[in-house]
Symmetry: D3
């Protein structure tokens, strides 16, 4: 018996203690190229909570993931060393901004060591402290899949809710709005504040109607055009998909992307200069059939392939 077989990857999918995609657990920066991380936090939501349990259920469902992509025959686990680095440890759960500090501190050594990170949320407010940890020399580019632009301002006492991360990131010089594309936007709003912010600052906003008209391949091309060769982050809120695919989320909107469209869109983003990504807003208490977590795990696998391609190209 040795300690090395924690995740027992050769076992059936129902066996073993589930790390993300059953990769090794490791917090030793020298052992991996890409970190899979969890941020069990939902203190930034405006409607339904529960995303604090997102990482656990995504890990659980990610036991259904495998190595070789059926379209590309690329195996990210062969191309790179991938590790589960665990969940952000929190010192403060009751003041949004201090919790964000905990998140920032967790990711800083990972990015400082030049690793890529793929994160499972948690609510969307977590992307802002991740960007802070990234601390890019220049504002980065962003591919953002979501029902909402998340460029709203203050809500009920805080500027840092899950409706605001990208507004804060632009203000902080972390994100380049002109190299930002937001895809799948829809749903009525009581104010047009967020839509206006995105458009006024030069973000490319692809409302769902335009997505429907263009199709995923054309939208992916548009994303590649916007992003160019800038360092780019991929942020995917599961409410970008139609609520029927991802019922377990905090602010569901009907009328969104299908899984097939989302997979096609992601595959069309291959070859960009990825620095990281996240899949957020999985709320297991609202996910009786588990589909949301399975979709999230599957899309994390797709994003992992993007990151691993980039990391393995970079390795050459």
């Amino acid at each position: 018996m040795t300690g090395t077989d924690l995740t027992q990857m050769q076992q059936p999918r129902f066996a073993g203690i589930p790390t993300f995609m059953r990769v090794p657990f490791s917090t030793d920066l020298s052992t991996f190229d890409i970190a899979l991380a969890g941020v069990p936090f939902d203190g930034g939501v405006t409607a339904r909570p529960g995303a604090r349990f997102g990482p656990r259920e995504i890990r659980n469902m990610s036991t259904m993931m495998r190595g070789i992509h059926h379209v590309t025959r690329f195996n990210p686990f062969d191309a790179c060393r991938v590790a589960d680095i665990g969940d952000v440890p929190f010192t403060d759960l009751y003041h949004l901004e201090r919790a964000h500090e905990d998140i920032r501190r967790f990711f800083e050594p990972v990015f400082r060591a030049g690793k890529l990170a793929l994160t499972a949320g948690g609510d969307h407010s977590i992307t802002y402290p991740i960007f802070q940890a990234l601390a890019p020399r220049e504002p980065i580019a962003l591919v953002h899949i979501d029902a909402h632009t998340d460029t709203w301002d203050t809500f009920k006492g805080s500027k840092f809710t899950h409706g605001a991360p990208f507004r804060r990131a632009v203000e902080a010089g972390l994100l380049d709005p002109k190299r930002t594309i937001q895809i799948g936007i829809r749903g009525a709003q009581n104010s047009d504040e967020g839509w206006r912010y995105s458009l006024d600052h030069g973000m490319r906003v692809v409302f769902i109607e335009e997505f429907d008209a263009l199709g995923p391949a054309a939208v992916a091309a548009e994303a590649r055009r916007i992003v160019g060769d800038a360092p780019v982050y991929l942020s995917l809120d599961v409410d970008g998909l139609d609520r029927v695919f991802t019922p377990g989320t905090g602010t569901p909107e009907v009328g969104g992307l299908t899984t097939r469209e989302t997979q096609a869109l992601l595959r069309g983003l291959d070859g960009l200069n990825w620095v990281g990504g996240d899949v957020v807003e999985v709320s297991p208490p609202y996910d009786p059939s588990g589909n949301t977590a399975l979709v999230a795990a599957t899309l994390m696998y797709e994003i992992l392939c993007l990151l691993a391609k980039r990391a393995s190209d970079g390795n050459r």
Copy 2:
């Protein structure tokens, strides 16, 4: 403290006592242009019951609705005065025809006062007494989205079940079959009675295969052609959508419309001479994830935009 903030519309979506879309509750006819009403009744179903809880769950989920439409930037709550007028009070629940009398009596003063009404069912049998309350001078036109034509005849002792409202309405001179379009029809039947009735009386029946071939824009155009400028009612049975979107319904059929298609179809109906509408057959006991009620609430919002455009144009 005052009595005016019942619905606490500025509060988070989880707070407050839910009226439809958090509009004011009012039964004073002078206070609104459009009435949102509930008919908590499922005494007309032929298979699964539960739609009596439809209004309550739709109200609940409708707290997720907001004002400004993301495509048109139209805000129905700015354009019109919208009120929740509560649920039909019943004096008889155990004899279908007498329950229909209760429904008719509830809506009569609303229509008589020239208000538009948007109703949450309840099973589809309720549309017939609503038409009776409308008491149009001429037979009205109808856009009907459903898996079933609901032009069947007697079933198990009654001519007024949820399979029959539009047959009864034609017979009563309330509905003009030649200005009626039925969209999304599908599913095997033990008799072709209903299909035949619709076709024989000149209704335009768009089976799902035709819808699939034409797409929502063309079908909307066809609907506009059929309806013309006649006073027109919109009746949407949630089983018109694929059962995966609306599992909580009484007579589910797989293979139906998607949410995106339904939204596109509804938006294509803008500018017609609307007199009212309903969203029916939401059965919460069969809706473990709540998606059916959320879809229903979202489609009610879309229909409200249609009615409010009409009402506000009429106001000019």
Copy 3:
């Protein structure tokens, strides 16, 4: 049509917009003796969230409540004027202490006007700001039913979580520990801090094993002895019951009270000098069968009978 029939109390239980027990909604202090209030807040939990939806689901399930108690034949709605005063409006949801300020401000005018209040939580942290609003001249007595003593100290950055309200209340001179009885306590802990605090400060702690040995009647007698004729508050955390009765809660513990025992215990507390009460920690996302909310509504009715007896005696 008039505005008076909002809750349509003569209608079937599935009809109408649900206020608590279908009493009138009113925020006019002159119209009621006892306020039923909601605090849709779960920002103080340490484990599972969701109690922000507690008031809504308790209102919903409380439509099953009726007037005449089957044991005493007492009807609280005849004895007193009872109103639903709605939910606490929040100005800050992202900093625990500021949210507590919102709660305090909501209840202050109610208590200042000499009304009794019965509150549906929300997590247990809300009881502390309610006590602040009560602002008793002398520390009050407490009957506290719970799996946990809720006299813990700081957790993850705050002294005001749902594990701490009664410690804070003692410190603030709001609660008299020597007139406090805690019933149903159980469950392992990583530190004995809370148990020790309660015992060291003279609270009467009835662990579940003692409850099991004595039975509800004897424990009720003990509670009456401890409380005496002091002004007394009743705080009932639904996790005091066995988790099988109340699965929808934030920190469930197996091995607790049954519904019958809890009802017997509450009925044994008749005649005390009640100033208010609450039923907290109902988390609907974890309540697939709805039993937790129904139990909470039923126990609120039992507590309402206690308060109404007191209020109507006081009226004489």
Copy 4:
């Protein structure tokens, strides 16, 4: 291959088409001593529907039943010929009284042939037409386990709802109130009409508090005293049990009997002069874990043992 192995009783519990307890299906009166029947009807409910699916789910769960009772070692299937006679066929579902006619007609030949019948409901309104079909020469005795006395009067247009069967049966001379015992009664009411009717007419009403004090053995003894040697029917509404055991029911009440108490109570009724029985108010849409149907099937098995003892004694 022959037609005789429909229910494949030697197969695992998940195999085969489920009849009640996997007995043979037969409508030939010469082939059985005891009939197991279904009444898929919920047109008499006042709150939540769904009991129309009761027979199907009870049949499904009854595949878990077996022959030899673990206390008595009695095997009802050895002692008697037991058959599933299917479900009542309905000619009218939309007028309560006419549906009751269908029920009466279905049971008349069974009782006329001297068979015992054990019925799975359906709502409690069905017991009245079953009594009509029984057509006893003298009013029969009744052991009635329920949260409600079901001796209420008119509700929303009908005298025959599920709140009224035993009042109607007394009025029709079918039931002897003085030989009637009602066990488990509880829950607030808006009027004391039903309680008063039962008590005024001499029924023995064992409220849950008395049951709690006496225990099942003493209550069973009391039932035997009340019933004596009169022909007696057993009617068990699953809401007599605490709602935690039987969430899937139409009018749930917390604070009821446990399964163990109910089993002990039923076993204490052995040797009475049984003519039939029913288990009613199982509403599968409200039964996510299936416990209600399993409890109902298990209690049907207990009642079957009572009937089979009687039938086999009578055979001697």
Copy 5:
């Protein structure tokens, strides 16, 4: 009363003991042309079990099926005699290969008598013993809808798991790989063994991306081309559909076919030389809304139409 109305087909859908589509139960080979059969077995799964309950829930949901197809107006129940022949009786459940023997033995007399059989699984391992029972003189053709090619080899001690039936069938000379088309294939794998086997042996593998590009009509045409006029079997694993439509399955994959696409695909296969078919991998414990079983029942109805057309043509 006679024994002939077991399934009570004229009754509402919630009434009666459910056979498949409410056809007569019969094991007399002279009474039917097409057999509907259940194989309640999941001993061959590699991930999630539960398909042993598939036949029961499909029967249950199949009560929603009716006769006349809405596109073709063909009624399979008029064209052929269709019977439910019950479930495979098992003598061994604990050794995969011996359980397969039980399956083979059950189907042999059916096929030997020249009947068509349409089977509800059970896991996909059951198709291999069905092919053995078919015992075709020449290897048959296959239309296979699935996320997985099911041409993998040994897993955890057996060559006969649900990942292997078509590899075993080719090896045994029962299946002609060159007349086999596999549609909907997708999802990452830890080895490309199965994909390679299919491609290397000449199977036509339509990955989901190709299906997406071509559409169901073109894929159906391709299937017709591959199959030609060979005797052909249709095997449909419900995980061929997107997991959102069929969550209740053993090895779910997101990104699959929709119900509408699957129906269109099946309708495009009319006129082939069908010898049988199956719908497998319905796992009810993972199907909280029941959609999987309803989809399975509906697709069985579509396949039944294909078989009945063939059988009735053959009758001429």
Copy 6:
């Protein structure tokens, strides 16, 4: 960052990768006194599967566990070194006896090294290979809590199903029937084979009726009398509890133990000469509210206290 904080025990209960009770994962025999192990296997069930997911869900729910017992103030994690040693790796899942070999092989080194093991099942068939791994010099004693005696013989092709482990253990000289007590037995059976075997071989069978009459303290005393000072194993099938507490199990029986009774019973067994224990038959797919897994985790904690007391006494 170091590898030591995998389970992040100081984090909130929703954070971190869940080992059993968040103890360290280790397969190094020198690092622990008591092993917590999982056997994700349900190949021995006779009715409902799913227990293969038991270890994962029990680990998940066991994050709610803490250290200090509220009755004894004993902390097993202080008294002993406790490790999660992961799940049994399987080489054969499709032949019951070979899977049992895998289980035996996994536990042999643990017991050979003199460790105590507490196992989460998996179905009850796993206890037999655990006993084989224990390989006691003398037949051991047993405290067995269950609805069934599990001393049945062959079923559907195997002598090693979950109905047979204790019969096999007696036959193999591993278990002393005269030092065996079986508690909670109930439920009808088609044959009395198992009951007879237990009684004929001198096992002390406490049917639920006797348990009800005696109470947990007296039954615990009886268990201590039967077991004496022999090495003793505790095997707890969650169906020993009433199905309402543990719906997620393979062969549920209503009318069983409550959680409070079970906890009291277990606490009464302190001081015996424990060699190991298990909690089996948790089937998460049938556990919509998660109560079964939480009960199992809580009872594992109680058993761990028994084992740790023994181990720490032995350490002295």
